[in-house]
Symmetry: C2
Subunit: 321 residues, 2 copies
């Protein structure tokens, strides 16, 4: 299987847009709409697979509120993957708890060279895709972003927004570089990463405490966690558990990186982590991807992770997954 992203098409501004071909976005919640919307804004051929927001987006397109401006993207949207047909890139931004639905969604989107890029949280999603559709197709992206879908077809961007993209079990490839470049043209701070799994552990340093404590503390915003000194100390303690698990698996994450995850969160204010929003709405929470799988992998490698163990047990009990 050969991927070629060496052909470039010129955008209006004269910046060369890599020819990514036809892109589908599966799971058009806040994350899918934001990154897919920014690819469409860059000039890429993007179609969103949607159900609840379909009519609104077909009629009015997508609206992305960010930094005081309101960006309008005339997005294509379809209700089934069969209507979309084979694509060159499929961006998967479904909740990991809905992965079962991919068995039906993915096949109509595939040709021999289709790249699957999961933007899902936690651990285990690349493995899930690789087992079913071949590991050579699979790449992943880690989004560091505060977003909410505020009404149908409307995404509100609160803070941050960078994305790290990498291959699954391989180094940086031309197709990953092309995707990063296109995201950059759309206005996203994107970078290619050599080791996706290491990046996933780095992301868990934030997600494990802030998504988890949000629910376990019965509805705590980022500010609620940070402003309560006892809870903030535990958030930092949970980061130590994640660092320990990662280190045992060969991924060294510095103390300074963890400290910075606390520091950089102050600007998020009353932001509700995505898992909290799901939990409050009675939707499933990615308990296994964010807490269960890291705990199992870390403990399998000899880490204790006592705080993560307790947090996982509580979340498994209080959240649907």
């Amino acid at each position: 299987m050969a991927f070629s992203f060496s052909d470039f098409a010129a955008t209006d501004g004269g910046v060369t847009l890599p020819a990514l071909g036809k892109i589908a976005v599966v799971g058009s919640g806040a994350v899918g709409c934001y990154y897919g919307g920014m690819l469409a804004r860059a000039g890429c051929d993007v179609t969103f697979l949607m159900r609840s927001d379909l009519a609104v987006v077909q009629e009015r397109g997508l609206t992305i509120n960010t930094g005081g401006e309101s960006i309008h993207v005339a997005a294509q949207a379809k209700e089934t993957s069969r209507e979309i047909g084979p694509c060159d890139v499929v961006v998967i931004a479904l909740k990991a708890t809905a992965n079962g639905a991919l068995d039906e969604i993915i096949p109509p989107l595939l040709h021999a060279g289709t790249m699957l890029v999961t933007l899902q949280n936690g651990l285990g999603n690349e493995e899930y895709l690789a087992e079913r559709w071949g590991k050579e197709r699979v790449a992943g992206g880690l989004c560091f972003v505060c977003l909410n879908r505020t009404s149908p077809g409307v995404i509100t961007h609160f803070d941050h927004g960078s994305i790290s993209v990498g291959e699954y079990g391989r180094g940086i490839s031309p197709r990953v570089e092309a995707l990063v470049q296109a995201l950059g043209i759309g206005g996203i701070e994107a970078k290619a990463v050599e080791d996706l799994v290491c990046e996933r552990w780095r992301k868990l340093v934030w997600n494990v405490p802030f998504n988890g404590l949000a629910i376990a503390a019965n509805g705590a915003t980022v500010a609620d966690v940070l402003e309560d000194e006892v809870l903030r100390t535990e958030a930092r303690g949970l980061m130590e558990d994640v660092r320990d698990g990662a280190a045992r698996l060969g991924y060294e994450i510095s103390k300074e990186f963890a400290d910075f995850q606390i520091e950089r969160s102050w600007s998020m204010g009353k932001y509700k982590a995505s898992s909290l929003i799901d939990w409050e709405a009675g939707r499933p929470v990615e308990v296994e991807a964010i807490w269960g799988e890291p705990l199992r992998q870390g403990r399998g490698a000899g880490a204790q992770m006592p705080r993560l163990g307790l947090l996982y047990a509580l979340l498994k009990k209080v959240a649907k997954s």
Copy 2:
């Protein structure tokens, strides 16, 4: 100050009842009514300080449902401690979160030799009484019992029921032996203990996980904790944290004791720990006495107690205290 419990009065059955003198029970919830009721049943002169249940108890006495039988105790009850006046023994079974009220309640109950016996949970209550009214007065009792106040004046006893009584900072005394004997005559499995603080830590081995997880898991009964293998493992892990804290302070609690705390809990079934009942009713929870103070004391002595730290942070956030 000299205490004398060497005079004995004969009960109807011919068993000698130690002359404890006049007893007041302060904080007439389930625990106060149960142990005070059993002392009254033994023939002791017991008066309950009550507010909400006062009229019912003055009219109909106390009812204690236990093991299929319904025990009726013709209890004396008053609304203020001034009406009760000086006593020889004051049993304190108020929630630790209401300790502030003792400043007004206790003084009218005191004479030079009044013994104060706290049946309250956790750590810090003997210290609280000692600071205010002198350490020579203070003793404590640890109740291992499943009780609920099921309606005004009615206590339902589900399981267990033993009590361990000890002096604060001294070995077993005649007054403690007398109290133990009177409780025994009332039908309670009571024993005198040499080291009250050690016994408090032993009790925390159960209270820390089962009261704490009950709330943190958003309303879990004892059975809910035990039947969920992940949560049960964390309950046992929390017991290790308590053992560690106790050990650093010089109190060795065996692994077997902790294992037995899990085993003995199966018979409690769907019992709701007292903290859970308080929490569900919107009442304050003894967060500092049961989780905060043990954590501070254990960490002060060099223990890490990572699970307890997280649990305390969550409880402090979700419960009034």
